[in-house]
């Protein structure tokens, strides 16, 4: 299968400060790719650069079509869903309203309603809390809601920013299991940013390692897992 997303020579800036320096990567369609790195390496910024949330230079292509320089809302409309750091749920709106917003750009009203029901089957806890304000959910439930909200777009590509952040290990395991299912059953390609490198490498098939805004190692997840340097600095054994 071909590449769904290609980035080359990607620079990113916050105001005058440059954060990414000529980053390049390629995501295989239907696969899960992870970006690893320490705090401040530019992982979150990479996702933001793909979505046009920061000023960038360089090229980003979705299925060959250039999307760099486009507005975030237009990139989203092309089928890239982003679960940002801090989850980006609308805390004062209800669970169901959050899901409806996820499908906001879709024209098939019936399909949106059917997808909400489908997600409720997958996440019964969201169904129980459908009329509750999203801010009252537990961390794990909010993460499930954030992923569900993103899936409502019927995305071709799902960007996930630290889905394990702040969650208990058991919940993290559950969430990663859900992500694996979504990837297998719905064929959604994923780009995953994670602090928890061993968890991410278990899920992903490809990985990139960022250091201070540059790609330093790239390869299959298995190869990276066995890389001396990665093992010592990020996996800790």
């Amino acid at each position: 299968m071909g590449a769904i997303l290609q980035a080359s020579n990607l620079d990113a800036f916050y105001g005058p400060t440059q954060v990414l320096f000529g980053v390049g990567f390629e995501l295989r369609e239907g696969g899960i790719t992870t970006i690893l790195g320490a705090n401040g390496a530019g992982k979150t910024t990479t996702l933001r650069a793909v979505c046009g949330m920061v000023r960038t230079a360089g090229e980003v292509r979705l299925k060959g079509e250039r999307i760099d320089g486009k507005a975030t809302e237009d990139i989203v409309r092309k089928g890239i869903a982003h679960v940002p750091d801090g989850r980006g749920t609308f805390t004062a709106l209800t669970v169901e309203e959050n899901l409806r917003l996820g499908g906001y750009v879709r024209k098939d009203r019936d399909g949106v309603a059917a997808d909400i029901e489908r997600l409720y089957e997958r996440f019964p806890r969201l169904k129980e809390r459908r009329r509750q304000q999203a801010g009252t959910l537990s961390g794990g439930e909010q993460q499930m809601l954030a992923i569900s909200r993103a899936l409502m777009l019927r995305p071709r590509l799902l960007l996930l920013d630290e889905p394990s952040f702040g969650l208990a290990p058991l919940i993290v395991k559950e969430i990663f299991e859900i992500m694996r299912t979504i990837n297998r059953e719905d064929g959604v390609s994923m780009l995953l940013v994670e602090q928890n490198a061993s968890l991410a490498l278990d899920l992903a098939d490809h990985a990139y390692l960022l250091e201070t805004g540059k790609v330093v190692i790239a390869g299959s997840a298995d190869a990276i897992k066995n890389d001396e340097q990665v093992r010592r600095s990020y996996l800790g054994y």
Partner: protein, 290 residues
């Protein structure tokens, strides 16, 4: 007792108009955290357009709905053309734009339609409803129009995808973009709705206070007092506040302080709320951890 009831009821009628203005202020405040000082002048200008249409010979309700539509489109145009360029500018820049708009609308209204006081027709002349000694037809009619506007807005924000998108955009612009909402158009729509609500308020109050370029100056102050009293970030609180201010103003004006000091009630309320309870009665208290 009868006289007192009459004061309360006509207070409710003007309160409805303050409530509408309060709602128009809240509409813009919620998404931008700015108070649009030119809200009153925009409403007056729309009312002049309605007056001109009626003078040209259009039936009242045709003129009414045409004016609401002009307000909606005009409000959106103002946001797109004048405010979008200063979206990320410091707050004072925005304030200056608002004051500029206020002066422009006020002078243009005087220039085009002159400064003489004009009678504005009521769509509810005497005898159309069961007017009693407490209520005139116009008072009942304008309360009903206010309530209709409120219901329409409630339905819009609660049950339509566009209304949901507007609420989302006001709450969390970044996440809104991530679900594909065009946030800056939502701000424009907020301006359009505010201008349209203002236009309705203007057309409802003009038969009572007569139409001239300064018609809404005082009314905006009452509306602002109502919005602050109820909570500037809470539409329902603002509407409630508007009604309370209307009744307070009328009753205090009739029995306690006399009509000359009526506007003082609004100003005292504004200063009082801001110093004693800045969030208003139903406002959200925002606590920030530092």
């Amino acid at each position: 007792m009868e006289a007192f009831l009459h004061q309360v009821f006509s207070g409710l009628a003007t309160g409805g108009i303050y409530a509408s203005m309060a709602l128009a202020l809240v509409m813009i405040y919620q998404s931008t955290h700015h108070i649009n000082f030119s809200q009153g002048e925009m409403a007056t200008f729309c009312t002049f357009i309605a007056w001109a249409l009626i003078e040209t010979g259009f039936p009242y309700w045709v003129a009414f709905f045409a004016t609401v539509a002009i307000g909606l489109v005009g409000g959106m145009a103002i946001q797109r053309i004048l405010l979008r360029p200063v979206e990320n500018a410091p707050i004072l820049t925005n304030v200056i734009v608002f004051i500029g708009l206020l002066v422009i609308f006020n002078s243009t209204a005087g220039w085009i339609f002159d400064h003489t006081i004009k009678a504005f027709p009521s769509p509810f002349p005497r005898g159309t409803f069961f007017d009693t000694q407490y209520f005139s037809s116009h008072e009942i009619g304008s309360i009903m129009v206010t309530l209709l506007v409120l219901v329409a807005l409630y339905v819009f924000f609660r049950f339509t995808p566009l209304g949901l998108a507007m609420r989302a955009a006001a709450q969390n612009p970044v996440s809104s973009r991530l679900v594909g909402i065009r946030v800056s158009w939502m701000l424009a729509l907020g301006w359009g709705l505010a201008a349209a609500i203002g236009a309705i308020a203007g057309m409802m109050v003009a038969p009572i206070v007569y139409l001239d370029p300064n018609m809404m100056a005082g009314i905006l102050l009452y509306g602002f007092a109502g919005a602050l009293l109820g909570g500037i970030d809470n539409p329902w609180g603002a509407v409630f506040g508007g009604f309370v201010v209307g009744v307070l103003e009328n009753v205090l004006g009739a029995y306690v302080i006399g009509t000359e000091l009526k506007l003082t009630v609004a100003l005292v309320l504004i200063v009082g709320v801001l110093t004693l309870k800045p969030t208003g009665l139903f406002g959200k208290v925002v606590v920030t951890r530092v």
